[in-house]
């Protein structure tokens, strides 16, 4: 990222525009997928994949991670890795809360007798 010749900058500008087009296409796909008659799991998975692709495009090309040293990419990825770890650690609690709601809904008719 040190040498910025006119030719290199012109090449980068073309790439910026290509990435912009891809971001637009992926956003349209994201909105479109929500209208499809698919299971919530499939739609959710598709949306996560599309959002991750968009985020990666921004980080790699607009934030220039593709041209930086790999260690910087690891610094950038650390929060995502920790976030996934946090979600995994929260999973047992999510199950407990869901059971609490399920039990409450199931117990309501029984209590009325």
């Amino acid at each position: 990222m040190t040498a910025h010749t006119q030719e290199a900058i012109a090449h980068e500008e073309r790439r910026y525009f290509q990435v912009f087009i891809w971001l637009g296409i992926l956003t349209v796909l994201e909105i479109g997928i929500t209208y499809l008659d698919l299971s919530k799991m499939v739609i959710g998975g598709g949306l996560v994949l599309l959002a991750a692709s968009k985020a990666a495009l921004v980080a790699l090309y607009y934030m220039h991670l593709a041209q930086e040293r790999p260690t910087l990419t690891w610094i950038a990825l650390t929060p995502a890795i920790l976030c996934i770890f946090l979600i995994l650690m929260l999973l047992p609690d999510l199950g407990a809360i869901t059971r609490l709601f399920t039990d409450a809904v199931g117990a309501a008719p029984a209590a009325s007798h």
Binding site: M1, T2, H4, Q6, I9, E12, E13, Y16, F17, F20, L23, G24, T27, E30, I31, T34, I43, G44, L47, V48, L50, A51, K54, A55, V58, A59, Y62, M63, H64, E68, R69, T71, L72, I75, A76, T78, P79, A80, L82, C83, L86, I87, L90, D93, L94, I97, T98, L100, F101, T102, V105
Partner: protein, 201 residues
Amino acid sequence: MTTATATDHHGIEPAESPLTPESWGKLGMWNFLAADAMTFGGLLAGYGALRYGDPTWPVPSSILGIPLTAAMTFLLIVTSVTMVEGLAGIRQGNQTKCVRFLLATVLGGAMFLGLQAYEWTHLIQHGQSISRDNFGATFFILTGFHGLHVFSGVVYLSVIAIRAALGKYSAENNNEVEIAGLYWHFVDLVWILVFTFVYLV
């Protein structure tokens, strides 16, 4: 590390070379963004936990306006392009191009904030609030925290645009523009995730 500067590559052992040879400030910004990303990650994980555990959670599209926020998403993507074009401008030594694209980025950010204010006003008038339920709490905290970042970015880029107009940057000296750009692209990146998880999923 000795007194060797970031640009003095030849005398430095590879192990001592910084991750971002052209600027320590850039490394500082990346570290800040990593920390900030953890805050957003915690908020998003908390949102997911509350939502997953609540079978009565409303379908977001039944309350939130998807077309408006899709337009806001597109607007932020456009500002990312104007931001990198501003950087490309100063790297070409074109001060006018840099200032114009930076101002376009500031304008786009201000328009985003205006649309968010309109969205919030509409939702509050229809009974939503931060204290009404977990849906309202997570929605207003997540979008509000992001909006605060956009506001900070608008102020930050305004200062950079003024400095660019005063001729503080050149084809050889533009690290401050690149560092400000990193912050702005991060704000765009986070919105991509907020838009997906809060509005679409």
